[in-house]
């Protein structure tokens, strides 16, 4: 195959996977470069999708199966692009691959993790629990190969995992590698990070134990999360019966994120159903500026709104405080329709935190223009380079998939142009 029929996809989340697989299924060759040890990105961290409330791992499983059956999709994990040069049809790319310390002989038996004496915060669960330094993110992770986190691993002086592994799969002396590729087109699909809610002083994130982010809430509700899907609050593991959602936590705020993060209204409505389904006597209150449920999502909004145990209050939250003895959380807000102040106590508060493009903090390439908020300016991209999904503006999974599928044909056009 001519090299120019090769497309590089930076980012192995839903957008990247989609772009790669779609292009490959039309006969092109796709290489995914993913920064973390596993594919699936943010989608793998979600409990359910809105509005269908179906499990995201179902779609990931299909996509992984499509990849397994298609030799034209390959991937590097723990890998980042260091340098891009050239032009459409002929881009030279330098990729730095960090050591996994576990090779392909890994069988996924968990012995290394059992032997590992080091505990570290579980990033997959946004620090809600701990994991070993030798670990796998979750039981449907792909690739199903363990990894050793060298920021925490004690190295050769410990090596208990090496002894525990019967398959000669652990190599603590693994070194970073550099891979050079020549590709015809490049898709930027590095996704998004959650806004750092600790900057929202008045909302108590990071200080009040029972104030969590929306992404943490996904993990709490997930069967493969820190509480095996039981919605329990972090401070004392008590069942959450009374919850508040604070919309636009960072978003639509000139001092934080001036844009709307698109997904948070639907996410909070969805998360209210998690709680309502698990505890029939539970209550949820959502504080919002505008409820944004475009298109047919409106129907989901109506369904949740119809639940008498869900209250929607238009108004900005002014202050969140903690009762030091009970660890309950008090929310002070203004109900601007009723024209009164509200002060109410909750078991737990979820901040519907905003979406920050990954390019806000780590620029992919210097010759791309970004908005002050870090979004890629699409018109600034060189020919043969395409940005997808949340790098251009906050969008949900459905829109990311649409965009990523479309980007696949763009990469095919690049290949054709440079024939």
């Amino acid at each position: 195959m001519a090299e120019n029929k090769k497309v590089l996809i930076i980012g192995g989340g839903m957008s990247g996977l989609t772009a790669a697989i779609e292009a490959a299924e039309a006969g092109n060759n796709a290489v995914i470069v993913e920064k973390t040890p596993f594919l699936g990105g943010r989608v793998a961290q979600l409990n359910k999708y809105f509005p269908k409330l179906c499990p995201p791992n179902c779609g990931l499983e299909i996509n992984f199966k499509r990849m397994k059956n298609n030799a034209d999709v390959t991937f590097y994990t723990l890998a980042e692009v260091e340098k891009i040069s050239g032009e459409e049809g002929n881009y030279d790319v330098t990729i730095k691959v960090k050591p996994r310390y576990v090779n392909d002989k890994c069988v996924g038996c968990n012995a290394c993790s059992e032997a590992c004496p080091v505990e570290m915060p579980n990033e997959f669960n946004f620090g809600l629990d701990k994991t070993k330094a030798a670990y796998i993110a979750h039981n449907q992770a792909f690739p199903f190969t363990y990894v050793i986190d060298d920021r925490h691993c004690k190295g050769a002086s410990c090596a208990k995992c090496v002894d525990a592994c019967k398959y000669d799969a652990i190599k603590l002396d693994m070194k970073p590698e550099t891979v050079n590729l020549n590709v015809g087109a490049i898709v930027l699909a590095t996704g998004w990070d959650l806004y750092d809610t600790s900057r929202l002083d008045i909302l108590g994130a990071g200080k009040i134990q029972n104030v969590v982010t929306n992404m943490q809430m996904e993990r709490i509700a997930s069967p493969n999360g820190p509480t095996a899907g039981k919605i329990l609050r972090p401070s004392d593991g008590k069942e959450v019966k009374n919850i508040a959602f604070v919309q636009c936590a960072g978003s639509r705020d000139e001092n934080h994120l001036p844009y709307c993060s698109f997904i948070c209204c639907m996410a909070s409505l969805k998360q209210a159903t998690y709680l309502r389904e698990q505890y029939p006597d539970s209550k949820a209150q959502i504080f919002y500026i505008d409820i944004r449920t475009p298109g047919r999502y409106e129907q989901f909004y109506w369904k949740v709104k119809d639940d008498p145990n869900v209250t929607l209050t238009k108004g900005k939250v002014a202050k969140i405080t903690e009762d030091p003895s009970t660890k309950d959380v008090t929310v002070e807000a203004e109900d601007i329709i009723a024209g009164k102040k509200i002060k109410a106590k909750f078991d737990m508060v979820v901040l519907a935190a905003g979406m920050v493009p990954s390019t806000k903090n780590s620029k992919i390439s210097d010759d791309i223009s970004y908005t002050p908020d870090g979004f890629v300016v699409p018109s600034s991209l060189k020919k043969g380079i395409y940005a997808v999904g949340t790098l251009k503006s906050p969008v949900d999974v459905a829109k990311s998939v649409q965009d990523a599928t479309g980007v696949a044909i763009k990469s095919i056009q690049s290949a054709r142009r440079s024939k």
Binding site: A26, K68, K166, D290, E298, P378, P394, G406, R416
Partner: protein, 741 residues
Amino acid sequence: MEKKYGVYICKGCGIEKAIDIEKLSKNAAKGAKVPEEIVKNHAVLCSPEGLELIKSDIKEGTNTIVIAACSPRVKYEEFDFPGTITERVNIRELVAWSQQPNTEEAQMTAADYLRIGIIKVQKGTLPEPNVLEDLSKTILVVGGGISGLSASLEAANAGYQVVLVEKEAELGGWAAKLYKEVPRQYPYEKLDDPIIFSKIKEVESNLNIKVFKSAVVEKTEGQPGLLDVTIRNNGTSETIRVGSVIMASGWKPYDAAKLGYLGYGKPNVITSVQMEEMAKKGKIIRPSDGKEAKKVAFIQCAGSRDQNHLPYCSSFCCATSLKQAKYVREKNSDAIAMIFYKDIRTPGQSEIFYKNMQNDPGVLLTKADVTGISDAGNSSLFVEAENALLGEKIKVEADLVVLAIGVVPSTRAPQEYLDGLTEAQKKGDVAKNAYLETTPKPEFILNLDYRQGPEIPSLEGAYGFADSNFICFQYETRRTGIYAAGCVRQPMNISEAQLDAAGTAMKAIQCVEHVAKGIAVHPRAWDITFPDPLLIKCTACKRCTEECPFGAIDEDEKGIPFYKINRCRRCGTCMGACPERIVSFKDYSVDMIGSMLKSVEVPDEGLRIIALACENDAYPALDSAAINRKQLHPSVRFIPVRCLGSTNLVWVADAFSRGIDGLILLGCKYGENYQCHFVKGSELANYRFSKVQETLDKLQLESERCQLIQIAISDYDKLPDMINDFVNRIEEIGPNPFKGL
């Protein structure tokens, strides 16, 4: 291909500790009638040394391979032996990791699985693709608005021929009627000129695109690659062969005549569409007297978000009104624009445009529910509203009112007509004929020759939008090779429609490429197998034609089915439907699965239960339960199936006549928000099961012995208990009375 067998058992990952490998090897040879010397084992079969064992046998001619090791979901690269029939037998997850080690049960489970695997390869043959002749790779695009034009260009620029059919005399659709567009780029300050005219030029000068204007699709017959489309154009019809279709037939504004309560009908109340026309002509005026409008009120959600009108949000009207407010302000700096809204919906970065507009002191935004428009004298109007901030009722004067009119997909009218027809049909022929005579037939778009209906169907509760049922797969369609783009699918703005169009163009070209290679399209987008019925035994019962979810089977005048194989998604629903059991794939057949489950050893004491598991969701859930080292009940044997829709009732007889005590089907959620990627596989299986239950009762076999459990891939934590519950119920019922007969 003459089969030469090799059976390889892995001892690693705890397998050797859980079961006696020697015993398993002997048992395999005996039970499955293969020579003992071909059964080999290795400490770590996936290691280079283990793989060498297999590869050296392949060099010696072994071509039919059974690997008893881990789940087929892992080590797929290692155990990939092109040109062979290879079957993975999962004795790691389903035995070593989920059964009590060193028990008689664990040993029997492993022996059953290995025997099942050997029988599977004995019954299977190596598939070859079925490539039809005279295939076309041309893409048909229906609709020449922004979506259709974009889709045409995307496909054409990827090297494909395109036929574009536009109903109107000119290309451009609604986008060509706009004065300006909402800003496309940061800082979202300046309105953009419409992009559509450059698109029209590009299309008209593109040699790969053939444009039909003032044309409609009269009929679409055939299957992907061989779709014969009859296009009527200026009174003449011509038929063109295409490979796949993009339906970009767009939307219509909601019928404003139904919005009398918002003043429509009064001279100075216009829709947002009329506002564009006016702005394009020049000044913003009051139609009643031609004077410049000084106070323009915009009423959001005119039709949208209203149970009595459109129960969805039309997505782009908020940004449109903000844009039109800018028209008002730019054309006359003395004029003010007032926007009455329920919620302002400017998701993503369009929020920045909203912010910019908020900063204009001549743009006033008020949250309120508009209750009516009344006359204020002198052709001016009052906007009356309630539930404004602080719960107030308000009354504001305006000299022009603009209704931000909602979106209705062009598929809505055909869908409603067809829904009505279905209802009438249920009441009998008289009602049906009366319906056909009295109901005006709306404009159909594709006029597909398709058993399940002539258009891309709308989902339940989708109000005619031809949307995908799947979040992960936005272009998963129920009409193979036919994809919907733009507002016919979801309400969306121009930029979104362009992206969406590119997505459908991708799927359309992928479809023709797959068909050219004889590969299925999504979701089994690697599969070269296909259903191949032994028609000599067909009784023309038509069940396969009726149950195929994708209209891939039609029947001739004698009622004998024939396949439009390029529509087939390889789910095996036809195989499950066939009472004569004559539909087979090379690697999947009624006889194969039947033989596999008949090979399960039925113990004299204790229960034996078979579970057929959907391979996309239920099977990975079993794996995941095992990875968490959850115990799976030792009485149950799990057999993966392509889709529960492929479950043939004869398997029930096969199982019970052998003395199996219970049968569980593990499949996807069905009904509204169904999760089956073959539309209704699990639902059909459940339907068939309900039929068989009567037979079971006749045989004095309790119908509770058969049960379908709807599970999702994420239910792995609950699954073992669900299975235990079923086993407990069977225990209460007692053993199968046919046991030992």
